[in-house]
Symmetry: C2
Subunit: 333 residues, 2 copies
DNA sequence: ATGAAAGCGCTAACAA
DNA sequence: TTGTTAGCGCTTTCAT
């Protein structure tokens, strides 16, 4: 059934040259006469030859692929549109190369084990790792793996050699400063997961801004990243500090929930309470009122991760990258 | 630098057995004595042996991977959270196997060419293909490829042997019938792209419902899938049929735009005009008013695609699958 | 510039 | 139940 594939030998024979000559032509290496070169070329076209990537990988000891690994206990994590965008970015630069993109959602124990193997056996030429949580076993593995690893985002508990991250802290600070600039003084925050780099960075940014302004940064509630988490956290905030007049929410999803609770509590946004989110999800411009939020260049994040990995594969030593975020002012804050 | 990997030979030597015996143990094939089996096992553990997937692939002629290919001219297409969900589904079943998932966004000419190669050279054991548009060259290739191909969604212009699709037509019909049940009689639709299977199926479902009810189905505007497309289409609809009292919109994204225009035109939803969308995106429950829409089981779609491919790889001949959709009634319609 | 030959690490047919 | 042997298709010295 497997229509036998055209091999290099067949090409060589047809072209009347040795296999090594043919091989040289295919990889356009030097030391082949013009005449042979063309003969081989013709044979390739005639036969429809396509090199067998597996055989090549075995011979060269290069897999010809890189993997994007998303760690985390919940498989559904990847459903966050965030990753889709990252993938688009990565994919756009990989498309210029001959590398395949392998996607590894290392979520179950089994998945983790596979990723582990992969790291140890060079089954991929490089790895992009995202969304590690605290004490993720993958971190150690990645560090001592003998393939290049690029981190997307910084893990909370250590600083990898190669990473690209968004300026979460700066973005959060800008968001909070915007609230302050609006004359608000009793500002709260709903944080994201604090066992992740992004979550803590945003929390720090919030603190930075308040510290600089000499305001109190004690109004804090911890939310899970989803909408209901935001709603719940807003409820807590409101019951402890009924007079708050601004809130920086670490994700737009949570901000949506928070605004709902605010509305239900009879507070109007932004008159009574200003709200600023983070991420600039597509829905942010259609909440009522439209959500002021922090935009991060997600596709660029993916692109830069891929570029960095490519640089590493080329033997270079790229510097870590922090991509700027940008405050998008809409009506809510 | 490449820490030389542990080979099967080393394991065999250490265990004091032949390489083939070792191989048999690894693949737990029969014809090995208990004693040897254990010896090999010990050696494997001691040495930390992990088989080289590439070599194995070359020897067995099985790639050990399947690809998810998304066709389309726009790379950003994949940014639609829809795909992320599909990936989660696929990934969850693949995680139980030893297959890797290769992601191929065949968007540029170059990307298409690579996918083509891949199909021709069995560099993957199977392919899942999504979002083909009309006259997509990939269709032909996929059909005659010598690897199993499962389609996600049905292309408009032909019926593949193996596919899993959501019941777009039935969902659209249910949506429209809901509008009818609300007593509306001048119902319009904003279609999606009609060169895709999903777009036409939804349009047909709309027509089905009106035909059965004996209502006129002439109020039609074509939109692109994004929000602005929906807004523009709604504008057209309103200018041609100012008295319309209901509209089925082929995607939630477009529905958001449509509702905006409706509001701007002074029409209230759902009092003056009922609106029903499609997809049940996460934002749908937070539009004002909350959007009535059709939910499709996206993760399940991914799961079933993967399962079907697995079945194919196992030599079975699975039947095509159509997954049910479900109307989610909220306030807008 | 050219070709012969020796692998890359594994599997599988065959003989013992 | 064993081990020997011949590949899988390509790259890459190393002579010529």
């Amino acid at each position: 059934m497997p229509k036998r594939q055209v091999t290099l030998d067949e090409v060589a024979e047809r072209a009347g040259v040795s296999r090594s000559a043919a091989s040289r032509v295919i990889n356009n290496a030097p030391h082949v006469s013009r005449a042979k070169r063309e003969a081989v070329q013709r044979a390739v076209d005639a036969l429809g030859y396509v090199p067998n990537a597996t055989a090549r990988a075995l011979a060269t000891q290069q897999a010809g692929s890189v993997v994007l690994a998303i760690s985390g206990e919940d498989p559904a994590l990847f459903a966050d549109p965030f990753f889709a965008e990252v993938v688009v970015g990565i994919s756009s630069v990989l498309e210029e190369t001959d590398l395949e993109l392998v996607l590894s959602l290392a979520t179950s124990r089994r998945g983790q084990a596979r990723l582990e193997q992969l790291l140890r056996t060079r089954q991929a030429d490089g790895v992009m790792l995202m969304s590690l949580h605290e004490n993720d076993p993958l971190a150690a593995l990645a560090q001592q793996a003998d393939v290049p690893v690029v981190f997307g985002g910084r893990p909370r508990d250590f600083e990898p050699s190669y990473y690209v991250d968004a300026d979460n802290r700066g973005g959060a600070r800008a968001a909070t400063e915007h609230l302050i600039a609006g004359g608000r003084t009793r500002i709260a925050t709903i944080t994201g997961r604090l066992d992740e780099g992004a979550g803590t960075a945003r929390y720090q940014g919030f603190q930075d801004a308040l510290a600089i302004a000499g305001l109190e940064a004690s109004r804090v509630a911890h939310g899970e990243f989803a909408e209901d988490g935001g709603a719940k956290a807003m409820g807590e905030l409101l019951s402890r500090w009924p007079d708050l007049d601004g809130v920086f929410v670490a994700s737009d999803q949570m901000a949506v929930g928070a605004m709902r609770v605010l509305r239900e509590a009879g507070k109007s946004v932004p008159e009574d309470v200003g709200v600023v989110g983070f991420n600039d999800i597509s829905g942010a411009r259609h909440t009522v009122p439209p959500l002021t939020t922090v935009h991060q260049p997600i596709q660029a994040l993916g692109r830069e991760m891929a570029r960095m990995l490519l640089a590493l594969l080329a033997g270079e030593q790229p510097s870590p990258l922090i991509l700027p975020t940008r405050l998008v002012v809409r009506a809510s804050g």
